[in-house]
Symmetry: C2
């Protein structure tokens, strides 16, 4: 199969659909409108508690301690966040703390550089699932994408999807800060073709952060069925609302409590 | 075995030896002198070509392309660097390029956060060795160290040492930027106890970089037999010389060519 050709065809189809829209004079607005079909919350101003069930309450700093991970889990239970997002080493700790609750456990694979082998991403995902992970946020192979090796990028995602299918949600971090718009679209399409459940903007350790423009572009590319996760730099309710309005269905944040309480913070991630 | 007690005893012994020295009024100078027993090069000003064989020529940026990796390997052969240091995904590419040369292949494990599981670090190391890696730079479990779980930190290193022993050199990145001096010493002692070949300062993705002070402290802690690698922020010959004088036996750098030619650069890593 000629991947490049296939990608071009899909790109053209998506672009054609966008430009055929009534509001083609403003492509971002158009994409937002199309994205809004994805959730009923978009047409009204959503509240903090409504947004809580969309948040992956996140602590990925490498010097985080066991006590901080336990506190993260306590907060997630108290505020009813969708999941906690922790590094693989802490998954078993989180699983113990969250047992019996309705808070899931997200962990990261090939994180944050995405430059590990496919074998290792698969192995890391299976290990994390065995430890109790319910969602896997993997980093796309940015170097292979930049090298034009789309087959390697797709197979890398397919491997993790295979390791997770029917058991665990797979989100693909495309790390927008390294990519131009064409590359962002390619990354989204390859993620969709590989069977991932979500595309996600950023690791929080790279150069970029979630913007409504990127969320709109990602939503327009993957269509209404896939999830889109906005992560890095989401620190207040206003920003979270804008990202949801642009098409995000999940938010990654460490300032989650401030977000749902409508406060402003200067926290990381 | 009470790890904390053992660590305290070793710390006391090292500190006693340092303070018993003739030049105890200047502990850094004293440590540098002790470290200087480790290499004959320390007492004279070493030249660029001499330092080349101490350099891991490094490219770990996540958006590096196949062409950039191939160029890195060409440079390593031309300038006779010790190894190239690349992300796991690129090890097989480097192995192909470097076949028949005397340039080794360093790759990274649990990089750069160190927060993956021990199982995964072992699996990642074996996978990298199978692909052609000759040296493994693993990141210590910083969070476990900060949590005071020294047994977990040591077992994590032991696992990778077991995966590499008699086949592949193991360097332990202690990521100095997150640690105070007491923690740096603990990290070095645990690395030594676990059987690692080197301790190494930094990933280049964290908050710190290699300093002569840290190299002296690390050398004084591990003694003359282990290797000490200075990495991150080494961009010119003068800095490299100071780090070698302080006890470094390996340099990690992306500005390697500028270093051996005695030029100044503002490059990354």
């Amino acid at each position: 199969m000629d991947m490049e050709l296939l990608i071009k065809q899909i790109t053209n189809e998506v672009m054609a659909k966008i430009s055929n829209s009534d509001e083609s004079s403003s492509s971002v607005a158009t994409m937002e409108k199309k994205a809004s079909t994805n959730t009923n919350l978009n047409h009204q101003v959503i509240t903090g508690p409504q947004i809580a069930r969309m948040i992956d309450h996140t602590l990925l700093k490498p010097d985080s301690t066991d006590q901080q991970i336990i506190q993260l889990c306590e907060e997630a239970k108290q505020y009813n966040f969708a999941t906690v997002c922790v590094n693989p080493y802490w998954v078993s700790t989180a699983a113990k703390e969250l047992k019996g609750s309705n808070v899931g456990i997200t962990t990261v694979v090939g994180f944050p550089l995405g430059s590990t082998s496919t074998f290792n991403k698969i192995s890391e995902a299976r290990d994390a699932i065995a430890a109790g992970a319910t969602e896997i946020d993997m980093v796309i192979n940015i170097g292979a994408l930049k090298s034009g090796d789309y087959e390697a990028v797709k197979k890398d995602i397919e491997g993790v999807v295979l390791a997770c299918r029917d058991q665990t949600i797979v989100k693909v971090i495309i790390e927008t800060g390294y990519l131009n718009d064409e590359e962002k679209k390619k990354a989204c399409m390859l993620s969709k073709m590989a069977g991932a459940d979500f595309v996600k903007t950023s690791t929080g350790f790279g150069p970029g952060h979630a913007t409504p423009e990127d969320i709109s572009l990602m939503r327009a590319t993957v269509g209404p069925e896939m999830g889109v996760k906005a992560s890095a730099g989401v620190r207040d309710l206003d920003t979270a609302r804008k990202l949801v309005a642009a098409g995000a269905t999940r938010i990654g944040a460490s300032s989650s409590i401030a977000i749902i309480k409508g406060e402003k913070t200067s926290g990381s991630y």
